[in-house]
Each structure stands twice: as C-alpha cells, then as structure tokens.
Symmetry: D2
Subunit: 350 residues, 4 copies
C-alpha cells in the first residue's frame, strides 16, 4: 500500500494517519542549530510548562517514543514485581503490547476485569482490589489501569472515573490512565483535563499523542511527582531517554500549541459521528455500542465487507465476532473520505 | 542554552547537533497521506533494501528510537539471562546506559575487559571467553560487544576486528558491534561495511544513526537472520515498535540515500582532524590518544578550560582525569566553528 | 498450634503432615561423613537412576526445595519471556505462587483457561494455543501446564492427558505437568508413570514429593533432556542448587525406595475415600465434585463448620463459595483421624 | 566418592561436611505430628525468638534453603533494579552465584571493588559510593555487601566493619552482610553478634548456617524490619517459602540452642589453626594471608599437591595461581583428620 493515497481508505487505525503540518514545521525548526541533549533543551521545558497549564497543576513530564513505553513505564513505577495490575480484559495493555507491562514491571500480573464497552465494572474492581491483599501466596493488588477512551470507542464519564478513583483510593491502589485517545475523550466530554485525571485520583497519565497527530513521540504526565526520579532512571534503562530529545519535544510543543491536540481530536470525533450518522441510513448495517470518540463498531453483511476490501479499504473485521467490523477515524480523515466510504457501503449493500 | 546559536559552541557530544536537511525533507514528505503501521510501509522496506545493498548481503532490520535500545535489544538476543557480556570497561553499555543491557537481558552480567584506546585487549578476551565456561556456579561467557569507533575516538582496524571475531568464534561466543559511530569508523578506515561486520563475524550491529544525522531513529542490522523473529517480539515488548514506523524509516531512508551517512561522517572526522591540526600548533595543549574519528582528547591548562567555559563553550572536562578535556565534532560542525574554538584556545593559552 | 497433636485435626492441607519414618532414617544416615557438594554425591545419582526406572526411560533430575520452585523453573525453560503459559484458571501456578512463574520466566503471561473439576477444557486449549500465534503484538502461546491431580482433587484420565498432549503437539506448544499430587494420580488411575507423562507428551514434570512424605525436597523430572543444561544454570541462579544436596537426595531416595511414594499416596487416597463414604451417610452434608485423590469438597451447614472449628479442626471453608468446605487427607492421616472427624460432623449436624 | 569415609579427606569446602547430631535429632522430632505450614508453626517462632536474643534486639527472620537465596533476596530488598551493589571483586555474590543477585534484583549491577584479603578497601568504597549518584545515565549506588568472614578466610575487625558502615551511611547506601561464615567470624573476634551487625549499620544479614552444621536451611536476619513485608513476598515468589517450614526451623532451632552454632565454628576455626600450626613446621610449605577463621591458603610444591590428590584428598588448587592451595575445615573435621593431612604433606614434601 502506498504511503500516500489520493483518497484515504485506511480505517483500520488512527495510527495510519500522518502528522499535522504544524508539527512538521516545528520539527523542521528544531533541526538546525545545536541543543543540549537528553531533555536539557528549551523545547522540553516548554512542553512541561504547557502540560502544567493544561492540567492546572505542577507536573513532571517524560517524553517517550511510543504509547506502549508510556504505559509500561508508568505501570512499573506503580506496582512492585509481586503486584497486580487491575485492568479491563479488553485493554491494550492486556492484549496488544506483547507483555510490555510484564517486562517493565519485572513480572507483575495483569488481572483482567469485565465490564461493558471495555469499561471496568466498579463492582469487579471493588472485589479484585481487596482479593487476597496482604497474602504472600498471591500477587498483591497494586494499581488500576483505565483506558480513556476505551478500546471500543466508549468514553468514561467524569462520574465513572471518579467512582473508579474512589474505589482505588479506598483499597490503597494507585491509578494509571492509558490515554492513548485521551484527547478524544476530553473533546467528547467537555470536561477539563484536570477533572478527568488528577482530581479524580490519577497518578500517572499516558498522554497519548501519536494516534492524534504526532509522529513518534508520546508523554507520561506525572501528577504524583514523588515518582519522577524513579521514572527517569527507568526510562533511561529502557532505552527511552532520547539523546536528541528536542525532536520529541518539538512534536509535543506544537501539538499542545493553540489547542491543536483538541482540534485534532474534535475533528476525528466528528468524522466518526458523520460516519455513524451515514451508516444509520443504511438498513443493512447494524450499529454496535457507544461511539463516543473516533472508533465505531458495526455489523456488516459479508458482501459489504468483501466489497470494501476489494475496493482497497483497510479495516478490522471478523476479529471480535463474525460480521463485526471496526472503523477508526483520525485527525487526517476528511469528510470526503467518510462520504466515499458511506457510498461504498451503500453500493455493496444494495 | 538556546536551541540555535549563531556560532555553535557545543563540543560536548555529537548528539548536540540537529539533523541533516535531507532528513527533515524526507520526514516532511512522509507526513501526509496514510500508511500501514508497525513497519508494514514502503519506507521501512526501502531501508531494509538499502542496508542490504550497503552490507552486500540479505539483512533484516529493526528500527528503534535510541542507540541504547539498539544495544540492549541486540544483547538480549545474544545471551541468556545467566550469560555474560564481554565488553571494554570504558564501553557505553557498561557505563552510560543505566543498566539497560541488564534490564533487557533479564540480568546478564557485563564483564569489563581492559585494553588501550578503549579497544578490547585480545588476550583478555581469550581468557574471559573461556573463564568457567559450562560451570553453573558462574555466569556463562556468551557474547562479545565491541564499540566501533570506541569511546575515546579510536577505530578498530580491520585486522583488530577480525582478531576479536576469530577469538569469539573459537570460544563459541556471539559478536555484537555497538556502531554508535560506525559511519565514522567506515569513513576513517576506507574498508567496506561488509568487511568490518559480518565478514569478521558480527551477528548484530547497532547501526548508530542518531549521532551522525538522524533525529530519533536508529537501526539494528541483523546479519544472523535466525534472530529476527525473537528480536521482533523483544522490540514490541520493549515499547520499541513504533506505530508510525514510517517516520523512523523516512529518517533512515534519507540518511542512507546518496551516501549521506558517509558524507556526514567524513565531514565530522575532517572537523576533528582540523581541530587536531590546529591544536598541534598551540604548545600549551597536549594531544592524547588516537583521534581516528570525530572525538579528540587533549590536556588543557586550567586557565584555558575556564576561559572556554566562560566563553560559553560546552565540553566534558576533568571527568577522566584532572586537566583532560574531550571535544566531539559532528556533521553539523563547520570549519568556522573549529577555527573559532582554536582561536579561543590560543587566546586563553597566551 | 502444637507441632504434635494426639489426634490430628488438621485437614487444611497435606502439607500439614510431617514426613515418613523411612525418610528421616535416610536423612540421619546421610548426616555423618563427608560428601561432594552440589549434587556430585552418591544419593543424588541414585535418585536419578530410580526415577529412570520408574519412568522407564533415561531422565535427568533436578532436586529443589519447593514445588513452587519446581514449577517456576520448569516453565522458565519452556517459554520465552514473551510467551504465554496456558493453564487452568484455578491452577496453583495461577493463584497461589505470588507470581513465581512470572518472576522465573522474566515476565511471561499466564493465560487462564476454563474447564470442569479444574481440568483444562480441550476446546479452550485448542483455541488458546493458536490465538495470535506469531503476532508480535501479543504474547506467543508457548507452553501448557496441567496439574495432576487438580486443585479440586480430580484426576485427569490417561485419555484426557493424551488429548491435551496431542493438542499441544499440534500447536507447537511444550507440555509441563505440575505433579504436586502426581503420586495420588498414579495411585488412583492404575496407569504407569510413563504413560501419564512423557508417552503423552510431557516435557518436564514437577514430581511433587513434599505433600506426600518428604520434608523439604522436590524434583523436576526432565524428559526432554535438551533442557537439562539450561535448567542447571537457572536452578543455581535461583538459589536452588543446594550445597549439601545429599540431604535433598536422601529424602527422595527413601521416598522412591520400595514404592514408598505409591504406598503413601494410596493411603492418602484411601483416607479421602473413607471420609467420602462416611459423609455420604450424613444427610446434612452435600458432596461436591470428583474426589479421585486425597482432596474432597463438600457443602456443610454453617453450624457444622462452626462446630468443627470450635473443636480445633483446621480446614478451608467459605473460600470458594459460602458453605463449601475442603478436606485434605495425607499419608499421615489415620483411619481414627477420619472417624473422629466423621463423628464430629455427625454430632454437629444433629 | 562415598558419602561416608573412615578418615575424612575432603578439605575442599565446609559444605562437604554432614550435619550436627543435635540437628538431626531435632528434625526427627519434627517429623511426626501435624503442624501449620508456611512458617506458622512453633519452631519457626522459636527461631525468631532465639535470634532476637542472640542479636539483642527485635528481629524478623526468613528461613530459606540456601545461602545464595539469602543473599539474593536480601540484595533485592536493598536495591532498585537500576541500582548497583558495591562488593569485593572476590566475593561469592560476584563470582559464584551464577548471577543470582542480578536475577533477584531484576538486573542491578554488581560493582567490584578491591582490597586486601578480600576485604573492601574503604577508600574504594568511598569513591564508588558517590560515583555518578543521581545521574540517570549510570546505575545508582545503592547497597554495600560485605562478606564476613571473607572468601580468603580473613575476618573484618569490628573497626573495619564500623568504618564501612559509616561510609555507607554517609553515602546513603544500605548495608548487607553475607555471613556465610558469620559464626566463624564471631568465634574469631570475641565480639557480640549485635556489635558486628546492626550496631555497625547492617540492615540485613545472611546468617550462614549451612556451612557450619545445618543441612539445607539458612536464614535472613532482618534488622531493618520495614523490609520484612517485601521480603516475604519476594521469598514466596522465589519458591523459597517452604510449606513444611518446620523442617527448616527445626534445623535452625537446634543450631542456635546451647550455642551449638558457636561451638561448631570455634571447633572449625581451631582445626584450621591446628593445620596452620602444623604446616608452619614443614619448610616446603608457604603460608599465605590471614587464616582468621576456617579457611587457609598456602603454597605447596607440585609433588605435594599431586601426592595428596593421589591419596584421595579433595581441595582446590591452582585456581587462584599456580601452586596455591586452599584448605577448608569444618565443625566435622577431627584433630585426626588434620594430623593425617599434615603427615601426608610432610611425607610428600620429603
């Protein structure tokens, strides 16, 4: 598949998109001249200030190269090796990171919990959070990891986050948020980043920039700053302390400037809504679950799936159950891209 | 320190440089359009082909975000947890990676060896390679790691590499090359990349692009392709499988096009030679060791060191022993930068 | 609780029993004189020969101090860190070893499967064994671990073991058996140890001696002898290579002599059968599940449970679900112990 | 080699000895009756009380199966994975445990220091303790491990221990003592166990029972009791929580009763002194270094070494340098054993 297509037909993931022009420009500006390495440069400091403003508090920041690294480093700082990570059974950390959390934590155990729309069921969390606590025969419940927005495209409401945060606090558990699509959740909820994170008890946030516009940079936002020193050692040791850090920082700096991160997410969400709206009008299509952000699940007749694939569309299908399809939009998806897809679905459904 | 300075005064490391214009242009081209993630894009395939051409053999390639990750992943694939990594006591993996090799290998032991100019002494390697081999009370000698060029700026000759490779082969040890400054070594020696690596027994090479022109991308060149599958799992698990891999690939692709990598290294070496030549003419300066590539050690009177620091120059001093200073040039160092530095040294020495 | 009680009232686990007289005598014999350390003694060699005879093939043997160590070492030799261990959700390795498998394997993932009587459901194994195999985003299915007898006291039949072994082989998975109560299974089934293990595909067996008569010694029986060298390094590194190995060996040697291991297990099973038979005659008691070996689950009225506890009986209750009780017999349980327990149950039920 | 020999000729290590009769008797007593598992038995509680008395303070105790496990568990509780363990280059943890500390600590780095008689040189410790502290590019100095008595049979004086303890405290380092031959050191110095450990700053002590009379049991004495909970999880996870803990405890209980541990050590030391005294009278023998405890190094003519080997004597020779021999005595060495050895040396030297 060519790296550029006249009409984008990749709806498999938001990571198929490129990057925002503002970000490329910032990187190009960073390219000339010399700068101190390993984060001792101006841009890295600027990113920290910007995130402090956005989250309305003093934060520390670690810039890393992938969301998996952000998650695994965060979890390693929040659980001992004999601890457990309570997470949804459908979560990315549980299914899609090849055991990165287990590697970084030196062998902690992920305990999968249930719940609709890939949201952790509070009752299950309450039970798991106390399960054999203090019993040396069992791993020790240590940290909860919530994904915002979830793998199915649902968004935890502020009340839901607060409920989980409160259960975690009562049980003495730390709270991590995998914000791979955090911007989409903020855009969807109309709540402040502070409310949705540290004010609800989040200790560490994987900020989640790559899927929403940056190239190769992500960030851990450290609300519990007593963890910063440990995280810095862990990041270096994990090969995540970039020597030319300014190139990670330039991406994030531009991403956070003039609300680009929120504009991108709002656009991606709008494209998913447009798609959802269009699909509603096609009787052969069955919409599934919440599409609060930029992910949409639906049921398609087999001929439609096959037709779309033959057209060159890329998307996941028949992975969850037969006939179920997932479409993901991004900041780079255009209304035309969505409309073309809708026309194709209609054509094959007919 | 500003990210751009009219006259560059950072000689502390080649990682203070920015990136080559060709590389920024390639990244900008990659920014638009959609591409398949995780390395299933055209640019990643192109990088593999280019490296195959350069090394005159079929290779596999893993693109990672730092040289530390390249080293640690390579070593993890070449030693069991109960193995030992034989390396020079001054090597980067031993001193400057915060135990990344120990982390990635699940606790292998680095065994430091001696040798002039930070090159491994063949006699020490011969002894260490057989030390308690097969004895369960001791870690098992498993892999040799050589740094080319070395931490002191020396370059292993082809004969020296072959000697170490031969000792490794006789002892049943695998061979890793930390090529953080591999381009500089190739430029210095006038030998082919193939001769200096797999033909001498190297199994895995950390290619070392960041210090010589890329932004945030490095590569493992896999000569022993039986290791590729394992490396792919290890990289994912380490948070080193970038979703938007094309942005790593675009950097490497440009870096390898039209011999940019060699031009950059040749230039950096020439700047170090110009500096060396200039310092020879200043009687108060004592040159130290080999400066085969882009690193130069010398002894400066204290007033000179202090004067340079007061001028805003950045460089390491008094770290190895009192009075000893290290200057590092890069692809971005200009003849004017060097001449300004020489003038400053002369002025303070007078 | 005193270490000796006139009438034994501990039915909580077979690990509450002491050791067989023959074993103490053997240890006492080993106590005088000098012997070569680390397993280079006569007794250790004898244990290997005896296990070879019992399993009708050449085997290697590692003597370790606990069953958890036997399991974790075995799994570490059968899966890479990025692999998964397919096991029953109720298995000891999944619930009761505080993540020992995760620690020894450097972070492999235990994937819990369902099935009645704590036996792995073959259909679930078939699905899990191929789940995302070869996909670097997921842990790689690597090894199946079956527990014989199971945590609920059921015993896999020969056919059942063969079925799981065959599925494992088809999927390219290794096969580990946690034989914590292997002797009880052999005694129950009337099949040869060979049939139940390597002839059905088992690569490594945790032999499981402690619960059935030894003091502090257990054994890994190595059928796939290509794993022996690796296991020896791993055991040393885990602090499991005893210097005075002869004291582990003396226990096992006596345990294997004149079928003591089978006599002990046969007796323990008979005591559970006697208990089961007696409970059948008490209408207030509801028997649950298979009691093929020395573990018996039943449902007791609350007043009975409370009465037994007040009498000084020790057993697990209300752990699985309210009203459910587990009794475990051992080689040291006497018919009088069982009869006293039955009388107590009757008395409290009345 | 038979496990019993009429005249003991094994001087290779104190781990070739059997066990004290008092210990076997205690184990035999523990063999009958039932007891609560995992350390909830009377003997385990008794061991803790006895060690509290001996060390004149409240302590916690973990019973483990080997000295390597005691060392590795202790170090894991005293250093983060990115930390370093400062130890003598000749120490057992550095050379003879196959990387057990690296395994248990999840990849910490052992930094070898020099010093005569295998004692850490205080100046080297002072330098290493501050080396790159707080620098994320380097492992973080975290814990000092001293071996008492040392690998060459020397004993740190009280002043020497205090000096190292004081340096550790100043640098913010934790202090571990590998007391594999701690009893010998106490017997040699005539100082109290308290003075030699926690009063000098020791946080955790590997008590070292196996070489001096127990069979398969060792202990960690926890002076910094804030570490106990973590150690308990780590021990279980390492397969070091014995189900029938009473059998470890019975060994230690007898070992600590009526000063058996000190009597055994005093005897072993006396046997080494007798051997030293005798060797002084043989002019062909050159005594080497301090023999403060039960280890003695000397230089033997080759014909003597060969003659002794031909007689069936077992000892290490030509391992440190040609002609150098090590003899180790134990609680089980008799004066006759020593005299026979001396006669044999004389005979072969003639």
């Amino acid at each position: 598949m060519s790296t550029t297509t006249p009409t984008a037909r990749i709806f498999s993931s938001d990571n198929a998109a490129g990057t925002s022009p503002e970000i490329i420009e910032a990187v190009a500006r960073a390219a000339s001249g010399h700068a101190m390495p390993y984060g001792a440069d101006d841009s890295t400091a600027a990113v920290r200030r910007r995130l402090g403003d956005i989250f309305e508090c003093e934060v520390d920041v670690l810039l890393v190269s992938t969301g998996s690294a952000a998650n695994a480093l965060s979890l390693a700082a929040l659980t001992p090796p004999w601890g457990s990570v309570l997470c949804h059974r459908d979560s990315h950390i549980n299914n899609d990171e090849c055991g990165a959390p287990e590697f970084y934590t030196a062998g902690a155990k992920l305990v999968p919990l249930g719940g609709d729309d890939a949201k952790i069921d509070p009752r299950e969390l309450r039970a798991a959070g106390r399960h054999k606590a203090g019993d040396v025969h069992s791993v020790e419940p240590s940290v909860v990891s919530v994904t915002q927005a979830t793998e199915t495209g649902a968004v935890y409401t502020l009340d839901e986050i607060r409920t989980l945060g409160s259960i975690a606090e009562d049980a003495g558990l730390r709270l991590h948020m995998d914000g791979a699509r955090f911007a989409g959740a903020v855009a969807s909820l109309g709540r402040t980043p502070a409310e949705l994170t540290w004010r609800a008890g989040v200790d560490l946030l994987s900020f989640g920039a790559t899927k929403n516009g940056t190239m190769t940079a992500d960030a851990i936002v450290v609300f519990d700053r007593s963890l910063t020193a440990e995280l810095a050692f862990r990041a270096k040791r994990a090969g995540q302390l970039a020597s030319k850090m300014r190139f990670h920082a330039a991406q994030l700096d531009a991403y956070l400037t003039d609300d680009l991160w929120l504009h991108n997410a709002t656009h991606a969400n709008a494209m998913a809504a447009r798609l959802q709206e269009g699909l509603k009008g096609i009787p052969e299509v069955g919409l599934l679950g919440a599409a609060d952000a930029n992910i949409l699940f639906c049921r398609l007749p087999q001929q439609v799936t096959e037709g779309l694939l033959a057209d060159g569309y890329a998307f996941y299908h028949d992975r969850w159950e037969p006939g179920v399809v997932r479409f993901v939009t991004s900041f780079a998806t255009t209304p035309q891209d969505v409309d073309h897809l809708l026309q194709a679905v209609s054509r094959h459904a007919a």
